[in-house]
Amino acid sequence: MTLGLLILIPLLAAALVAALPAARARGTALAGTLVPLAGVIVAAWRFPWATGEAEAYAWSAEWVRGLGVRLSLGADAVSMLLIMLTALLGPICVAGSFTAVRERERTFYGWLLVLQAAMTGVFAARDAVLFYVFFEFTLIPMYVLISRFGSTNRKAAATKFFLYTFTGSVITLAGVAYVAWFHQARISAGVWSFDLATLTRAALSMSASEQRWVFLALLAGFAVKVPLFPLHTWLPLAHTEAPTAGSVVLAGVLLKLGTYGIYMIAIPFCPGAASALAPGLSVLAVLGILVAGLVCWVQTDVKKLVAYSSVAHLGFCVLGLLAFNTIGVTGSILYMINHGLSTGALFLCIGMIYERYHTRSMKELGGLARVMPVWATFMVFFSMASVGLPGLNGFVSEFMCLMGSFQAWSAWKDSSVLAGTPGELGPYVTALAGVGMIVAAMYILMMVGNVVWGPLKEPGGHEDHHPDAAGHGHGAHGALPKDLSAREIGVLLPLAAACVFLGVYPKPVMRALERPVEGLVRSVQEARERGGQPRPLPVPRAGEVDRQSGAGVREGRQ
């Protein structure tokens, strides 16, 4: 029930926020995110990282009796890490919005809390229907946050975000439904189940062409969410228009729902198809890295730049996942966390500038290091984390994704090659993706060079104004100091600390991921060895269906 509480507490807090007067909204919301954070810390403390039990905190209850739909929750190391990320970003988003959101606070914080509950739910769900419900339910709070608290073009952005991702995930639902049908029709003699572990086992018995179609259907929703090139166009728009907290959650967690879905559902259901389609998908990932990177380079809106950079970054993440080897997949999962930290922090930094100057255009802003040295320090720091500087978190995951992809090559069969793995990517794909490292340096330094360094440029004819002069023209926001306030520093510091920690000492996380990753790698490897042939159908015996769902150990994941 631990996980259930982590979902319920934000929901209760949301209800409280709605019920209490607006003046109490902030405090309630902060409490509603801090309590789950404390809970997650305790849960992480007690989590069996080392023993490698496949699932912890399993809990299950009946939901829809006839269809075998259950409310089952559980967490393996991957889910746990992503739940931790979600819980960490929760209070940061709330505290980061104290000055940015000054009207309709109850709506804002209420939906933000609902969003957190939904995201935690996705990572904790162990039933396909429950997963889908949470997955879709993230859309509504996000839609409200963008459409009601965004910038000028917010309606269009929110609509596009909603429709685009919704359309994709409907197809995903169809894929899941097919697998569930396949399970009851071919294996369990008419007994339905949506338990993820049961479905994973069942899906392996589908024919190669079934697997391919199901994989593509599952991928449809996840790839839009990631977003995989060329399904990314909703993202820059949504990010640019979203309020800061919305962008942080969007980049930090919502995009990871896509890669998590691929990791958790798409690949385990159809490992053979995943392996067969990997070359094509890797081309899309590399195109995303390079094209989105170059597009970043010619942006003038800082937020749009960082938004496009997410497309490029997630390209690395997908590439690592497609390597289907230990280093690549571990790197990819680390990437999900690291990208959430560094890009989330970059969005916070940009939001702080927007609150002060009401613009994000590099044509109007420049040289802010002179007036905001503390902010500039954070901005440069997180830019470096984002660009993958060794010693910070981004490097560990980016390098591992590339290394995994480099290893994954069928031509490495030569016995003199000591660390090659079977796979579909190889050095050429990796070298092309690696060019993305140069492009990343180009656009990030372009942004830093324009906004942080250079001659001071402030909007509204304040150019080269004496920095300490009084009455600096943002009288309306007199509450905000010129440089960062203690609250703002407090919001950024935990993220910075996490970036350093994961950059210097990622070993505990790597160790924790060993077993779940091994399961995925093995399932793909077995599929390769079967040569596209489905696994033989188990003899159906009525009544013997895995009913303890949540607690069920997913095959290939132990």
Binding site: V291, V380, L389, P390, L445, G454
Partner: protein
């Protein structure tokens, strides 16, 4: 101060020991460190002390310190690190054998995925562990030593910046030494890569120190991106190494490369797999980026936008030699490819020549020094390429001292004359009151750089490379080009000296003397104005605005550092004469490390049991016009250096009466397009702009348009259909809800189809 140092040392010693013992306990893992013995935990102090310095400087910034405290903290920490490096050297050379040792701090990367053939566990292990052999010691010795000295120099040089800028400068300075120690001391390729990119970051931060100057920001960006291009090569090289050899740890790597080295020794390159031969070439790309070689050298001259101490430490003495370190460390990999070393040698040689020709025609003394750095780095690579890793390392060693000396002398001039760097606007500085030490030190530096015979260490180190170039079969052309370059070097070096330090005493102060117009703007003074503040310090800064500029001579810190460096660069000659069995002290350091390689034709020293390498497929050693190059090169290079100096004297000193003009002006006109080409730096930047940057920029815009119009257009088109339908279905309502409903309906439809399918079966 010494109390503080001892205190810090003791405290850190405790921490270091704890970390080491804790790490050992945690990681009694099979592959960690291989069979190599553990080094003294004191080694860990070398990276820890700069880290401490960095943190302390950061705290100073947070606390709003406006004194020179950050500088003293830096000097104390780096000085202590130097002492630790000395101790490390003592340990490494003191014992009976000269085996590498490893100091383990803590784990970084550790991933396993089962067992490979032969029960070898397949894993990626890369830790914060430090590999100590004599090559490490050699490098760390001059890195920490020079960093301490230059930190002391900077305490005075940057005095006008006291406040947040001063803290920022010294924090980055410490971070640089930390990164450099990871680069040089790392026991695996990933830690090397960490240092490699870390020094790049520090270089970026320090080049862009005067961040309000657009040119400084642009230069910093260029340096970082150019380096990243090289870094990609290195990263791919590391990945290939890992995939091929299954490890990135040196101890294992140098074991596993051995069979291939044996093959190479017998010239059987066709039996060495292509992937193994590719590794050194990929490393080379990284080395050329970091060490500013063709075609990636263009960032280094621009890097002179940084404060001079930075130019001296990072862009002359230490960071840019990282590429040389990489090649020297991985010499066993380089000899496994019949292409890698010739590429290194030729690129180095051509870089040496190109940079020297550009340096001859420039007027900015700091840029001339920058081009001379590029050129001298070319020498080092040429030395590596012709297989005298000793010569290359020795040149790195001597160059570190004399180039730091030259930069710091130029910096003193720049500091004193309001940022003036144009050699046409300064003359006879040596004879001005208070400038004697700078003048003498500059002379020592120039003599070293031009390879003045016998009195200078630069003469001996350059000689070693030149002689080997003629000896190693097949590289005589390189020898001739390097010899020509040596003459050019002597010319452009003394062009600077004779113009700026000799002749009639005249000067014109630089722009920065006038930049101090706004006295109220102290807290956030313009960077250049900072120097003028320094002027106030010494009581010479009065009346900046009214045309009466008084140069202020350097104070004790700058003079002391210059004097020490002058002595060091001369004393480095000694290193050539100690241990003649090993071609000098540096040779001994190199020979007992992984960089050891017997230079072809030099097997007469008798100190080595190994037979000479047969890179030339058994060809006989080359000669210099029929004579033994090692014997005759002393005389030849001495003559060449003297001719160059003489030419500079005739063209730039003899009979010169004004700062701005000299005999060379006439020559310039005669040289016509050649001179213009050299002055325009052979227009390499312009070519890169036209061939790479502009097309890329256009491409990026095309992609952006395609993204907006085509990809997003298609999406919008698809989105229109349901929305249009929704609009027609009911007017006056938000189309969104209808689309949502339609989407839901679509989803349901699919589910229904599936359900039907199910029923049919």
């Amino acid at each position: 101060m010494s109390d503080v140092t001892t205190g810090i040392l003791t405290a850190l010693g405790g921490v270091g020991t704890l970390a080491a013992s804790g790490g050992d306990a945690a990681a009694h893992a099979p592959a960690s460190g291989g069979a190599l013995p553990a080094a003294s935990p004191l080694v860990l102090l070398i990276p820890l002390l700069p880290l401490l310095g960095c943190v302390l400087c950061g705290l100073c910034a947070a606390a709003g310190v406006r004194t020179k405290l950050p500088a003293w903290l830096t000097v104390a920490c780096l000085g202590a690190a130097f002492v630790a490096a000395l101790k490390m050297l003592g340990d490494a050379t003191g014992g009976p054998g000269t085996h590498a040792t490893i100091a383990h701090a803590f784990d970084w990367f550790r991933i396993e995925w089962g067992k490979g053939p032969g029960g070898v566990s397949r894993e990626l292990v890369a830790n914060f562990s430090f590999y100590v052999d004599t090559l490490t010691c050699l490098w760390m010795l001059f890195v920490t030593g020079l960093a301490t000295l230059i930190g002391l120099y900077a305490s005075e040089y940057m005095a006008g910046e006291r406040g947040p800028g001063y803290c920022r400068f010294f924090a980055a300075f410490n971070l640089f030494v930390l990164s450099m120690s990871c680069l040089v001391m790392g026991d695996n390729l990933l830690l090397l890569y960490l240092g490699w990119e870390g020094v790049g970051l520090c270089s970026y931060l320090l080049i862009g120190y005067f961040y309000q100057k657009p040119s400084a920001v642009a230069a910093a960006k260029k340096a970082f991106i150019m380096n990243r291009i090289g870094d990609l090569g290195l990263a791919l090289g590391i990945m290939l190494t890992f995939v091929k050899f299954g490890t990135v740890e040196y101890a294992e790597l140098f074991e596993r490369i051995r069979p291939f080295v044996e093959l190479a020794r017998h010239g059987r390159f066709d039996e060495i797999p292509f992937s193994v031969q590719l590794i050194p070439l990929l490393f080379t790309v990284g080395a050329f980026g970091k060490s500013a070689q063709l075609p990636l050298y263009v960032w280094l001259p621009d890097a002179m936008e940084g404060p001079t101490p930075v130019s001296a430490l990072i862009h002359a003495a230490t960071m840019v030699t990282a590429g040389v370190y990489l090649v020297a460390r991985f010499i066993p990999f380089y000899v496994c490819s019949d292409l890698a070393l010739p590429v290194v040698a030729w690129v180095g040689t051509l870089t040496a020549l190109t940079a020297a020709t550009i340096g001859m025609a420039q007027f900015d003394i700091k840029r001339i020094m920058a081009y001379s750095t590029v050129s001298q780095l070319g020498y080092m690579f040429a030395g590596l390429g012709v297989l005298t890793s000793t010569g290359a390392a020795f040149h790195v060693f001597t160059h570190a001292f004399f180039k730091a000396l030259l930069f710091l002398s130029c910096g003193a001039v720049m500091h004193g004359f309001g940022g003036q760097l144009d050699l046409r606007k300064l003359s006879g500085v040596r004879k001005m009151p208070g400038w004697g030490i700078v003048g003498v030190c500059m002379l020592v530096g120039c003599l070293n750089l031009s390879g003045f015979p016998l009195l200078t260490s630069g003469f001996f180190s350059k000689d070693m490379i030149l002689a080997q170039a003629f000896t190693t079969p097949g590289f005589a052309a390189i020898g001739w080009i390097l010899l020509l370059t040596a003459g050019l070097t002597a010319y452009y070096t003394f062009r600077v000296y004779f113009r700026v330090f000799e002749g009639p005493s005249q000067f014109e102060p630089g722009d920065e003397a006038h930049a101090h117009a706004d006295p109220g703007d102290q807290a956030h003074a313009h960077a250049p104005a900072g120097h003028a503040h320094g002027g106030h310090e010494h009581g010479h800064g009065q009346g900046h605005g009214d045309g009466h500029f008084h140069p202020h001579a350097p104070g004790w810190a700058i003079n002391t550092v210059l004097a020490v460096l002058a002595v060091c660069s001369t004393a480095a000659i000694g290193a050539y004469f100690i241990d003649r069995d090993h071609h000098g002290w540096v040779g001994r350091m190199v020979d007992s490390s992984t960089a050891a390689w017997e230079a072809p034709g030099a097997g007469h020293s008798g100190a080595h049991a190994e037979p000479p390498a047969e890179t030339g497929h058994g060809a006989a050693p080359g000669t210099f016009l029929g004579m033994d190059p090692h014997a005759v090169m002393y005389y030849v290079s001495a003559v060449v250096a003297l001719v160059g100096i003489g030419a500079a004297w005739w063209l730039h000193l003899a009979g010169r009466t004004a700062a701005a003009t000299s005999r060379a002006d006439g020559l310039l006109a005669a040289a016509g397009p050649v001179a213009r080409g050299a002055q325009g730096k052979w227009f390499v930047d312009e070519v890169y702009d036209a061939l790479v940057v502009t097309p890329l920029w256009v491409l990026a815009h095309v992609f952006h348009l395609l993204d907006k119009l085509l990809i997003d257009g298609l999406v919008n088109l698809a989105g229109w259909v349901p929305r249009g339908a929704g609009r027609t279905a009911s007017t006056g309502q938000n189309g969104l809800l209808h689309s949502y409903a339609l989407g839901m309906a679509g989803g349901l439809a699919i589910v229904l189809v599936v359900a039907l399918f199910m029923v049919k079966n």
